[in-house]
Symmetry: D2
Subunit: 427 residues, 4 copies
């Protein structure tokens, strides 16, 4: 546990510089007619869930190089998320992945999370692997698909797993299930593209029917990996067709790494928002495919443009969606990596809030492309770092989250406690 006073101690040496920076930045904003306090307040309110499966070192099919001290149990995962939240103040929930996170006593987990200041975010089901719990001890296999499988017994297993995840989520206090399906094919001819989609929709309807009235179901599209020729829920158009085929509690979740090269993701976000089918986000960044890199680490301007669409959808503030950071921390300490992602999100939210919407609308109405672009860039180029740091500080967290994690020796202590060879479940 990272107690508030230890974080505060880490802040001490940085405080004077931070306050000077903050004052300078606030004065700059004041000259632009912007109240820094409003931005700081909005940043304090923002939070993105941590994924339980990214607390251990991630890997590729070529290998994995563990960090040491990785969480061995769901309880230890909660502790790690609490540690991230202790330094960011913006990681106030955790998203679980079943069966990787299958608690024996859901009530106890819920209480433990609450005691750590954490809520349980959207639940995630897993039909891309064979696990005793999901494939009935090997009686069926998801090798050739789950919901899209030609074998009805497999499809039933997929439905049963998802409804079980919902039931578990209810006990944990979650309010949503995110369904990412690996269903797809590697070879032309391997399956009928249309029948695959119809089966998936049919199966999801059974899951949807099981949804409590205050829950939402998110369909998450992805063009490829692990399927390398055709994926059933490959793009936002397919995801939307699924949501339309299910009902009003079904929405689409956008993972920033699940797009073809050159896709305009902010426009996809605007489209789904327009038809009120935007449910949530898996934030990360990527250069090639679903690289699952640190949020904002490859293209921070794109992140800004996406968040600005969110703020536009929210009428000037971040709308209440299911925000989650979804990355694979292959070479960094996972906790540091998620903290860096959270900070990057805070920057993007802060920048998006600085956009002068009124002036932008005028420029757009006048076809003044140079000015429209300049208005966005002016917000993006502004250094919101001190505002984000202040929001963290006021939330009891760290001016410098990674520095604080190192300063308190969190990883070192975990290696001592959990062992250098401890390996977490996940990807």
């Amino acid at each position: 546990m990272i107690e508030p006073e230890r974080v505060e101690a880490q802040n001490t040496t940085l405080l004077a510089g931070h306050e000077a920076d903050l004052e300078a930045v606030a004065a700059c904003l004041e000259r632009r007619g912007i109240d820094a306090e409003v931005v700081i307040g909005a940043l304090q309110a923002f939070s993105a869930a941590a994924p339980s499966w990214a607390l251990g070192t991630g890997g590729t099919r070529f290998g994995r190089f563990p960090t040491g001290g990785e969480p061995r149990t769901l309880e230890e995962k909660l502790e790690d998320v609490a540690a991230i939240n202790a330094v960011t103040g913006a990681t106030r929930s955790v998203s679980l992945h079943v069966p990787w996170d299958l608690p024996r006593d859901p009530g106890a987990i819920r209480e433990r999370a609450a005691s750590l200041g954490l809520a349980i975010d959207a639940m995630n089901s897993n039909t891309f692997q064979d696990n005793p719990e999901t494939t009935q001890d090997g009686k069926v296999s998801f090798k050739h698909g789950s919901f899209a499988n030609p074998d009805p017994a497999v499809r039933e297993a997929a439905v049963a797993h998802n409804t079980a995840v919902i039931d578990l989520g209810v006990e944990l206090g979650s309010r949503a299930i995110t369904i990412w399906l690996a269903d797809g094919i590697n070879h032309p001819g391997q399956a009928d593209l249309r029948r695959q989609f119809e089966r998936v929709l049919e199966g999801l309807r059974e899951v949807y029917a099981h949804l409590p009235p205050d829950w939402e179901l998110y369909t998450e599209h992805k063009p490829f990996e692990p399927a390398f020729y055709a994926t059933v829920n490959a793009d936002w158009g397919s995801s939307l067709l699924l949501a339309q085929g299910l009902g009003p509690q079904a929405k689409c979740l956008v993972d920033l790494g699940h797009h073809l090269p050159n896709a305009n993701i902010e426009q996809i976000v605007a489209r789904l928002a327009m038809v009120d089918r935007l449910g949530g986000f898996h934030f990360n960044d990527s250069k090639y495919g679903d690289d699952d890199l640190t949020v904002g680490s490859i293209d921070p301007y794109q992140l800004f443009l996406i968040v600005r669409e969110l703020v536009a959808y929210g009428g000037g503030r971040m709308p209440e969606l299911a925000y989650m950071i979804d990355q694979s921390c292959n070479v960094k300490d996972p906790l540091e990596d998620i903290a860096q992602s959270t900070v990057a999100l805070q920057h993007a939210v802060g920048q998006a809030l600085l956009v002068d919407g009124t002036a932008l609308a005028v420029a757009q109405d006048e076809g003044d492309a140079a000015m429209g672009e300049a208005i966005l860039q002016r917000a993006f180029r502004f250094d919101v770092g001190p505002l984000a740091a202040e929001a963290r500080r006021r939330n009891g967290a760290a001016i410098d989250p990674v520095g604080a994690l190192r300063g308190v020796g969190y990883r070192r202590a975990r290696i001592a406690e959990r062992g250098a060879a401890a390996v977490a479940t996940g990807l």
Copy 2:
């Protein structure tokens, strides 16, 4: 004009070899339990429209190198299409582009086309350029968009142009309008992504309201070019939203070059077919963007897979959709290029018809990926050339279309008639 007897004369020297090849191929098919006559018949029935704007040499922003003898009038364009049809027997209609093809006397054009054996296919409107006819002699401009323009006067001009194109099409005997919009932006902030879409939908609704009851309206999506940051109708999801927002006479048209890198086009085709919103095709091939190359010249297997989805949608035969070849003939003689594209389509249709659907369904139900793939490949690897040649021959056309065009000296005669410097309208 290329009279049938001149084509027949071109076939003479090839006939013996062709017949031997055909006999061999038919015998091979018979050993597989397939009646070559059925395939030949289906190929005889197939036709794809020629685009009036690709009869001259195409170009890029970097330049254009005219061929000589290009058609100077719509009448001459019809003659060129008739020449292509004379050698392919599968180019029995032409798709016009207004105002590039704005006939003074539509009735005369309709008659002239009929006398050449040509029907008028889908009409194409043009709001990506300022033309006196469409932008009211310079009173408005499409520089900042047509339907998506913030200026209502421009939007009205866009509607007026499209309804005028429909009216013209009615006189010409057309039954559909294809609307490809350049609307989009080059710079983040230049316009509001959502408002742009809403305006486009609003404008298209006015056009749709003008549609005769036996007409269809096709929305054609494209991710980029000429807009380089965000295009309003960028992908099949957007195109589908437009069609859904219009009504049952609205369908989506797929141009094979209008996709992001690595897109699975055959799956997009299957999706649109599934929801009965697949209206037509602009056939071409590409390696990088909207390269508008000869059909099947870069990835003939992809073409085969797309056509197979069509045959599946058509219940074992090519469904009645608006098929058109849409290419830019930059370095080949345009007529030869379109003829080669037509032949490539004939090959793909022939191969698709050879797929053993029953065996494929069995393999797919058994999750037998190796066999499913092998069944498709067996059809693709078969040389349907002699079948396509025979279909052409029976339609009064050429065994070797390009050879026939050269043999009768069509281009040479056109240069003599129209001049070496004649340049056609178009891209």
Copy 3:
């Protein structure tokens, strides 16, 4: 002409705010141990050439929407560049394109440029179009390539044109020639890939032999457009092979838009720098292909990473290379667009100079990916706007370049002078 006092007048109302911002920013940097004066000085020293062909409105094959008041002559182009320089203070040279810019009296042009405070940067030849001057009044054509053409007469014309451009450049005071070739093919089989390369190298050797001893020759690669299947100088590997085959005065020029999707351009820059074959840059930004958008407008972090590689190559400062802005201004006023690009470059240079190289090296040696990344991001996130503005101001230019262009009514005056229908040569 935009006289210094008119720019100063534009600065007046912004001055107080600018000075406050500058003071705040300098104090922030001081807290980080960085002297703002050093950065400002480096920014004052930086300049990038303007391309003579982007002073008019750009277009695509689908159309072009002129701005009005475009320069009709080379003299007017020089005036426009001087106007850009008047507001940016960092556009102190112009790059010409022959035969679009073929002065009758080179000496007079050189003098005129000098009187406007402009130098003549790298010369650009043009063998991607047929022009009377280059293709000998139609005796030859570059339709099927220039240096790569199978016809020796065409290859000779290409050599002759390039040597003529060098001769002209010598008169104008230039010191380099940039050779971008459209040579390539649209269709597999159209040409022999290897022979094409060998011919290009052979032709370039003749051009290279004509090079004055103090000149450099830059080969500029591009994967596609206008060739859509294979381009001879398609990638940096090919460009390097050409440079290696020519000699030490041959270097490679990198256009930021001339790469396949997802290419790591900063690594390419590092590679060419490593072998001392990095000659120059064509700066722009793009999302899909060679979109030629405003520098830094799509991915400013990538621009920063590229410039940082330059600073690393320069041993802590920008190396002396041939920097040019190369864009196509389709929807913005071209002068405003180039000014915005210049500002974006100033930002990137400023940010790159803020990188703590010593700390970075330590982090890299320790395999501390989180810290290495954080050090770069810290520099990138800093708002160097006031530093760049101050550098411009000290160079006699504008705090707000676009605002100043508008404030002095430059375009309005040009339309009055040159006419609304004046259209510049170029793309």
Copy 4:
């Protein structure tokens, strides 16, 4: 073991049909002036190595679904390769991967391979995982790179491993080592791009110095995965720089899946061949990234164009390079998958040999793009299936390789022998 007579028995029922097809095809070729026997002979001579690591089911980071009966030892791997060769007659060598394939008694393995009719192809080292044998029982780690690692001890371990692989290869009768490095970074700033390259070159020089005089060393480039921001040997340009920096025994190996989207691979092949640095191939196919799918299963025309460049390089025949099939068999039986890949290669080689090189050269010299393309397509569209089948039959293998594997019950027998849970080493 699949004895020749069992294969022959499988051929029996297909023989009559095959002979009729073959006769028909040969007659068609005769009409084109081509001797089918020459093609069959060339196909008999062709062989591509099987990779030892693809004999078990492949997977992704999301999971792996074993086939059952996978080889547990190197000896069993050799048996599986022999089985593939029994049905294809074109898999006469195997490529090993160390330390996955670390024989205790190399001499015995060499003998066993020889007794199965197999040679040992290029050796593959592995520095992308930590293995007790390569990372000295955990004393060092390749987490942050091998040759590119800032830690000299790690670099030494990388050199030591590679020289050990060469030593082992000498004992096994191999003649080459293929070095694919995962070295690269996930995060901008994680390492110095230039220093990484220099260290890799430095390390490879030590390995190169260890090379026996009759050996070759192949550098294999790949743009991404497992590194997701920058890979040291990312492209053919980098690979060529490495080979140039090593010496004449160093060549570049091209894996068909190791390219950015839209790359023209056949041109890369032509470039490396031109400078005599083309060493070998890892054949597979892909749609999105390094998908490692069945050869020719996504884009068979591209495969044909690549093989045609090889035949051009070989002066009309396949040159003697290190050909290997490198795929990941995730959903098919690996042996069937490799057999299908081998057949696809035979098709491509057969088609490439049918290209009329003389006519092609004429068309190219005349700038006749339509004819140049048509000549290639004519060869590609020809059904060389019966020729490939005959080549296999004459080599004692199967007319229908997959059918034969199934017919003899190879997998069933292996599951009985090795168990349903046997899992092979590899990816």
